[in-house]
């Protein structure tokens, strides 16, 4: 270790970015085991040696939860793994998850100075290395301040909820998470597949949040089992954080969408990931897989769905996307992995109708070719259909991965929560305050479908603001409400 410590800056710059070992594409398409295998110790130390320990580190600015990146890498370099874990977990309750699913290439690593001339430090891979070490060398949970006597209800146990709950517990508040499903983790459990984020990693990090004193109540649907107003007025909660994400699937509203064999990506992934349909019949939940599958959409969810379909035995899986390769919203690494595995990309193609057979099963899909026009509101060039370019795809299964919206169930019988026309909750970006007294919100329920880490950032900011409110440092005046009243929204 002393060698790497004493080397010069020039020598550091010369070390190439260390590759992540992965399962061979031809092998991994037949299993659900993790694709990226993690750095071995030696590789991690070599990669850690590349960090220049900037005085004013840019990388930290790119992190929504502001992990002290140089500090944890420094500890790692000194082979002080417990110290590295401590530095990491000070700001991030879920590092083994973030090390796997964060889009580092557009966040911390995008700002790394090494990236200007060469390749940035592989911060995400180092984060994963340190966090994985922690999972096999568990340390006692951090000491907590004396109980504040305040109770907070966190709705949803996904990335936003877990982060918010963990931070609130560390501030000394009594936190209960309400989860509608039978397993905690939200999208980390039902959405992201095992081969990208093993579920034992999610369980371990959820258990870490539990170890901070957070109670998780499963199978309780807020809006049904209890309403928000009941939690505030009858169940004795002083504040609520809404982190229920964006769980409502979207469909295209084209003819034939209800034929057997047309799935929402949410249903397909929930069956496979949460319900473990890939282990059927040892597990009870089944899933159908076609011979030739079309996945409509090109986000990360579409990549996950297509790669699951392949692993479940489909002969051919197509990603059908109405824009071109340049506009693909999925992470570059996910697209790369999907292509390596043999997923076929049909760009500038849009379904117009799904055909069924006499028993109600999908037997084909009519599509139209598209071209790109002028940029639209999203800044991307608007896809336009090319007249008379329709053609038929021979598919027997279609998965709609068109994005998701917040589930309105949570708002039932509780007024005062301003929402946008997209169904998202209006909340102050810095604090998470909503228009409803004592209710905060963050993550996809506010932004619409986004990333795990941005949801965690929102959970963290809301926890800080809830803490200020509970300690009586600020009156419960909603900034979002003030903004709306002032006509600023």
């Amino acid at each position: 270790m002393s060698e790497t410590k004493s080397i010069s800056q020039q020598e550091r710059v010369k070390i190439p970015r260390q590759k992540m070992p992965t399962q061979e594409a031809s092998v991994r398409v037949r299993n659900f085991n993790e694709v990226a295998l993690g750095y071995p110790e030696e590789t991690a130390m070599r990669e850690a040696a590349r960090c220049l320990q900037c005085k004013r580190p840019k990388c930290v600015e790119g992190c929504p939860v502001e992990v002290d990146i140089p500090a944890f890498i420094e500890r790692l370099r000194e082979a002080d793994l417990p110290g590295a874990v401590q530095s990491l977990k000070k700001d991030n309750n879920l590092p083994a998850i973030c090390g796997r699913v964060c889009p580092q290439e557009t966040q911390c690593e995008a700002l790394c100075v090494l990236g200007k001339k060469g390749e940035p430090v592989a911060i995400g891979r180092l984060e994963r290395y340190v966090a994985d070490w922690d999972l096999t060398h568990p340390s006692p949970p951090p000491e907590l301040p004396p109980p504040s006597g305040k109770k907070v209800a966190v709705i949803g146990s996904g990335p936003a909820g877990l982060t918010c709950a963990g931070d609130l517990a560390r501030y000394g508040h009594q936190v209960t998470i309400f989860e509608s499903l039978h397993a905690p983790g939200g999208v980390l459990i039902y959405g992201i597949p095992e081969f990208r984020l093993p579920k034992h990693i999610v369980h371990a990090e959820v258990n870490y949040v539990r170890s901070l004193g957070v109670e998780i109540r499963l199978n309780e649907v807020i809006g049904k089992t209890y309403t928000l107003d009941e939690l505030l007025n009858e169940q004795g909660y002083d504040a609520i954080f809404l982190g229920t994400g964006a769980g409502l699937p979207m469909f295209m509203h084209i003819p034939g969408e209800n034929y057997n064999g047309v799935y929402s990506a949410n249903e397909f992934l929930t069956r496979v990931n949460l319900m473990k349909a890939y282990l059927f019949p040892n597990w009870d939940t089944p899933v159908k897989v076609g011979r030739k599958v079309a996945v409509v959409g090109a986000g990360n969810v579409a990549m996950d769905a297509s790669r699951c379909a392949l692993r479940l035995g489909a002969d051919e899986v197509h990603i059908v996307y109405r824009r071109s390769r340049e506009e693909v919203p999925a992470r570059a690494e996910e697209v790369h992995h999907a292509e390596e595995e043999g997923i076929i990309f049909d760009f500038l193609t849009n379904p117009v109708e799904i055909y069924g057979d006499e028993k109600g099963w999908v037997r084909g899909m009519r599509c139209i070719r598209m071209k790109l026009g002028e940029p639209d509101a999203s800044g991307r060039r608007r896809p336009l259909p090319i007249e008379n370019s329709e053609f038929d795809m021979d598919v027997d299964m279609v998965i709609m991965a068109l994005g998701t919206r917040p589930n309105p169930l949570v708002f039932a019988d509780s007024g005062g929560l301003e929402r946008t026309r997209h169904g998202t909750v209006v909340a102050d970006e810095r604090t998470g305050r909503t228009t409803k007294d004592r209710v905060w919100a963050g993550g996809d329920i506010v932004t619409g479908a986004a990333t795990v880490i941005s949801a965690m950032g929102a959970g963290k900011r809301a926890a800080a603001d809830i803490d200020r409110f509970l300690r009586g440092e600020e009156a419960p005046v909603s900034r979002a409400e003030a903004a709306i009243r002032a006509g600023a929204s």
């Binding site: 089992t225 159908k288 109600g360």
Partner: protein, 279 residues
């Protein structure tokens, strides 16, 4: 958690379980359902609430053993627990004072029609009821239904008890007889509800049905339960489970209920094999 506090065999393949779930019982209303998972590796299945007792903090479920999961559920004894129990889900029945209402329960559908009939009676309606089953041994809750109905017709397909008829026969006779009926509820197998819809359509009496689609989460997240009602795709879990029976695309519903027929058979065989070997 979710302990079974009472169990009854209503018929050779029809079981009743009363389950301790105070948070669910506190809010449950007629017409709603719960999602049940029998064991850790189990699937999530929707079951309509047959009764609830807020004081005891319990929910009563009645189900027919038709596949692996319901057979497994049927083996559960008093004192055992279910892996999960979520609810109450879906919208409650719209209970109002309509005047004269008719409640039709077929097979295992007699169970969910019971709390609806009771609630309608309590709301001041005259309640006429028809219950039916394939044969006498599959019939249950005749006395409970009689207690909440002003009139009760009992029939069996094979004539082994009560009148030998499908439930649609007395239904049609009542409507043809010029009996003034303001609203009808029909719950049972999809095919029975479809024929109740066809029977009542010409008479212009509103028909409410409770759809039994395949579900996963039961909260609007997956869309497995979607079905066209009045030309629009609706989610049974959050928009239902009750809909206008004259607007439902019954053939689509019936097709969608058959998606996993093959896998259901496979799971059932594995289960029966396991049991035959004494595992």
């Amino acid at each position: 958690m979710y302990e079974i506090v009472a169990r009854e065999e209503l018929a050779p393949v029809t079981k009743l379980l009363e389950i301790r779930a105070p948070a669910v019982a506190r809010k449950a209303q007629a017409g709603q359902f719960v999602i049940v998972r029998v064991h850790e590796e189990g699937e999530r299945i929707p079951l309509t609430i047959a009764d609830y007792d807020r004081e005891r903090g319990t929910i009563t479920l009645v189900f027919q053993e038709v596949g692996k999961t319901t057979m497994h559920l049927g083996t559960k004894q008093v004192g055992e627990c279910l892996a999960s129990f979520t609810g109450p889900l879906g919208l409650p029945s719209e209970i109002e004072r309509y005047g004269t209402v008719l409640c039709v329960g077929g097979g295992v559908g007699i169970a969910p029609i019971y709390p609806i009939a009771r609630a309608l009676r309590e709301a001041g309606n005259t309640v006429l009821s028809i219950i039916g089953a394939r044969s006498k041994d599959l019939l249950f809750w005749e006395e409970k239904m009689r207690a909440v109905s002003d009139e009760l017709i009992v029939c069996t397909d094979d004539g082994s008890y009560g009148r030998k008829a499908l439930v649609t026969i007395p239904l049609k006779e009542m409507l043809e007889g010029g009996r003034s009926i303001d609203r009808i509820w029909a719950i049972g197998p999809a095919i029975m509800m479809k024929f109740c819809a066809l029977t009542t359509q010409p008479f212009g009496v509103p028909l409410i049905v409770s759809l039994n689609s395949i579900m996963v989460d039961g909260t609007g997240m997956c869309g497995a339960c979607r079905v066209e009602v009045g030309g629009q795709t609706r989610f049974v879990c959050v928009d239902g489970p009750e809909f206008d029976g004259h607007q439902v695309d019954w053939d689509q519903l019936l097709a969608r209920q058959r998606i996993y027929l093959e896998q259901e058979k496979q799971a059932l065989e594995l289960w029966q094999h396991g049991h035959a070997c004494g595992h």
